[in-house]
């Protein structure tokens, strides 16, 4: 059964169309790495999934239910959670308050604040600090924890390791491993290709608002992804013609 189906989705920033006629089906429990250069439309696509950006055309189905017109907060209730690019924490609120806010939708599930602190032990001593004063790694952990608090079926992580030191990235991925074992469907944007290839089962490359490559990780080579990333396949195609 598919967890998420996107049909012919288009999203625009004013005159600029950032996502063009995009279709994708995500199966339950799948780990997808969304790969693409800056400006390829990844974040816009993910924000449209979460309901932060309304599409100009197309449909989004969650468990076969059309959620295209649903407000962002109702999508969280339906089981979709986004960790936005740049973390977007409530900087004047404490870690604990940010995490509690994540539970606003009151979905039933196994995640609670104590469990988050168990998965991210580096947050324990920061429990009552304002998140604006914390390090990047601690903020990213809080952002992921905040999304988990809604007990999502699908977790979308935009730029997981942006601005984090390699050591902290390891920590974040270690905690993602726990999630993956529990069967959560994950869509993640990662600039570090080797890491993305390690974690994900399926590679989806975006270029200029369209999906140019969509293959299982086991069948895709590094070169193929790099070509799709830079749009080189277009050049080779046109020279061949």
């Amino acid at each position: 059964m598919s967890a998420l189906t996107v049909k012919n989705l288009s999203v625009a920033h004013g005159q600029l169309s950032a996502v063009r006629n995009l279709s994708i089906t995500v199966q339950k429990g799948e780990i997808i790495a969304l790969i693409g250069a800056n400006g390829a439309g990844k974040s816009t696509f993910l924000r449209a999934l979460a309901g932060a950006h309304s599409p100009t055309a197309g449909h989004i189905y969650l468990d076969d239910k059309d959620i295209t017109q649903l407000c962002a907060h109702l999508r969280v209730k339906e089981g979709l959670a986004l960790v936005p690019e740049g973390r977007k924490l409530f900087s004047e609120l404490t870690t604990q308050e940010n995490l509690l806010l994540g539970g606003s939708s009151a979905r039933a599930g196994q995640w609670n604040i104590e469990k988050i602190f168990k998965v991210f032990p580096n947050l324990v001593k920061r429990r009552h600090s304002k998140t604006g004063t914390m390090s990047g790694g601690e903020q990213q952990a809080t952002a992921i924890g905040r999304a988990l608090m809604s007990n999502p079926d699908i977790l979308i992580l935009d730029e997981v390791s942006l601005g984090l030191s390699p050591l902290v990235v390891d920590q974040v991925y270690a905690s993602l491993a726990t999630l993956i074992q529990m069967g959560t469907t994950i869509i993640l944007v990662e600039q570090d290709l080797s890491r993305a290839m390690q974690v994900a089962q399926r590679a989806v490359c975006m270029l200029e608002g369209e999906i140019v490559l969509d293959k299982p990780m086991s069948l895709v080579s590094r070169e193929e992804i790099t070509d799709a990333y830079f749009g080189l396949h277009k050049i080779t195609n046109s020279t061949m013609e």
Binding site: A72, H73, L82, P84, F90, E97, L100, L101
Partner: protein, 298 residues
């Protein structure tokens, strides 16, 4: 001198009470509500109207006026401020400025130019007092007003810090888009916050109309005092509002004791001194400093 300080503290309680709603909207919803004074006067008229035509005791009227003002707050947020707040920092200021003019003139049209007060409806209470020292008396209403200010600010503080609703209000004020992503119904939460702000305005409207007289255009000076209190007390702190009220009242009282016309000047002088000190201490270029002092920086 003791008397002056005691009376000033009581007056400060009144200022804190009328600033409560403004400070709440200012610090929590990031909206500078220029219609604050007019809404205060509107609730004053509601109390007067219920007392005059239905012979309702002002304390019972609270049970009617608070829900009316809360509904008004909800409607204002839902139909007016929600949209205007998305148009930038300046737009809510203009919107509420226009709203103030509309409310004032509607009130003037319905109630005319007569000054009103509900002091006549509360019997002897309006002039009763307690003797606390040899020659120092404190008015009962002033003490009640100070107590309500402390109670109201304390309740708001608890609500904001300790409850899920308070957390959601603070989060929505900071970033409504992200609040939605996290699962908060930002629109509903803002409407509730506006309803709470107007409930406090209802309470301070009672204080205003018990303490003195008002007419349709009395909102201006009330807004000015409330604004000065909010700035003196510092943004983001509801207890600061109480302190700000007391500082303003003491400055006015000292001003008045120096010169018969020094009451307002004393208050304004302290307001400007504190504003300029804050400007001097704030970081960055002048525009940024002004923004951070006025609390409009994001």
């Amino acid at each position: 001198m003791t008397n002056l300080i005691i009376q000033a503290v009581l007056l400060g309680g009144y200022y804190a009470l009328i600033a409560c709603g403004l400070s709440f909207m200012f610090s929590v919803m990031k909206i500078i509500n220029l219609a604050h004074g007019s809404l205060l006067v509107l609730s004053g008229y509601l109390f007067w109207w219920l007392a005059e035509y239905y012979a309702l005791s002002p304390l019972y009227s609270l049970l009617i006026v608070i829900p009316i003002m809360m509904m008004l707050g909800w409607a204002l947020q839902e139909f007016l401020l929600y949209k205007s707040a998305r148009g930038g920092e300046l737009l809510p200021i203009l919107t509420t400025f226009g709203l103030a003019i509309v409310i004032e003139n509607l009130l003037f049209q319905y109630f005319g130019a007569d000054t009103r007060s509900i002091a006549p409806f509360i019997g002897d209470l309006s002039w009763e007092s307690w003797q606390i020292l040899d020659n120092i008396y404190v008015g009962k209403t002033s003490v009640y007003i100070l107590c309500s200010a402390v109670l109201l600010l304390g309740t708001l503080q608890l609500l904001m810090q300790k409850t899920a609703l308070g957390r959601q209000i603070r989060a929505t004020a900071q970033d409504p888009d992200t609040a939605g992503i996290v699962g908060i119904n930002a629109r509903k939460v803002s409407a509730i916050a506006a309803a709470i702000a107007l409930a406090t305005i209802a309470i301070s409207g009672l204080a205003m109309s018990v303490r003195g007289v008002f007419d349709a255009y009395s909102g201006g000076p009330q807004l000015l005092f409330a604004f000065e209190v909010t700035i003196i007390g510092g943004l983001g702190s509801l207890w600061g509002t109480l302190l700000g009220g007391i500082i303003l009242a003491i400055a006015q009282s000292i001003g008045a004791s120096i010169h018969p016309q020094g009451f307002l000047i004393g208050g304004h002088a302290v307001f400007f001194i504190i504003l300029f000190v804050r400007l001097y201490l704030a970081d960055g270029a002048l525009a940024n400093r002004l923004k951070s002092v006025l609390g409009v920086s994001k």
